[in-house]
């Protein structure tokens, strides 16, 4: 017995057959599959040469940033013989700034403890804004 709630549209929709896939589909998939199979596991992991370069540049930048925390390049320059008085002044200013940040207290907290979250927060806001702009631009396209 047929369902009384069903009308002709339900029947028509139920009777719809699968659409025929285009003839270009199978060769297209097989070509991509062969391309993937031809790539070594390393190439698949690393991706395109452009991706590799991008990752290498980001890695190097992070390494240099980490190195800055350990080595003070201005101080190193200042220590070399024949350096100018101005160059000698930079490490002094940096040391004074570092001391000020760690010793000055705002609301009983070291200034560094307040400045660091402020920097992180402003960076996050910048990233979120950039991402929102990109999202809106994609949506409008």
């Amino acid at each position: 017995m047929s369902d009384p709630n069903k009308d002709w549209l339900d029947e028509e929709l139920e009777n719809l057959r699968d659409l025929e896939a285009p003839t270009t589909l199978l060769p297209g998939v097989m070509r991509k599959v062969r391309e993937r199979a031809g790539k070594s596991w390393r190439a698949r992991l690393v991706g395109s040469p452009a991706d590799l370069w991008r990752s290498a540049v980001v890695g190097l930048s992070l390494f240099l940033l980490g190195l800055l925390l350990v080595v003070n390049p201005i101080q190193l320059c200042a220590q070399t013989t024949g350096s100018s008085a101005l160059l000698n002044l930079f490490p002094l200013l940096l040391d004074a700034g570092k001391a000020a940040l760690s010793q000055v207290r705002i609301f009983n907290l070291p200034a560094l403890a307040l400045v660091t979250p402020a920097i992180v927060l402003s960076y996050s806001v910048l990233v979120a804004t950039a991402s929102a702009i990109r999202h809106l631009a994609n949506a409008r396209r």
Binding site: L19, A21, L26, A139
Partner: protein, 184 residues
Amino acid sequence: MVAAATLSLSQFHDRARSGLDREMAEEEEFETFIRSYQNMVFSVSARIVGNLTDAEDITQEVFIKAYDRFKQLQDSNTVGGWLKTVATNLSINHLNRYRARWRFFSEQTEPVEVAIEVERETDHREALELALRRLPDAQRVALTLFHFQGMSYEEIAAKLDVSLAKVKSDIHRARETLKKLVKK
């Protein structure tokens, strides 16, 4: 010594040949697999995205994903379900990339006109397929998930991240539009 070397060389060739044969056999199996399911996957994508060119791209993507886990899929008896789910998710993701446009269309109250003259000459089912593709995105997606994937209103609402009332109204409006456009 030479004989031993020759033997190992021929063995090496045999192994290489058998490896190539295995690869070719795997490729053939995968081709057969695609032939068996391509219409189903293509239909799922085409009915969700409403565009045959985009549906072809999505179908290719689905099969490339399937190739990565072909061995597991061969042993599984839920291949069809897996392919349908992946095709559905990729198609919805595709539409979500243009979410603003989707919202704009979903707010339209007037049904999108289908070329009625063309439909009268063509097969009734073809006309229904055409009318389905020309429905506003939000209505078509909800109707497709309900009728072709057998999902409940609640499941559709959760999948599309919209309210239950919107799903119900989209399906109702889609059905009304289809009835108007493809008269029995």
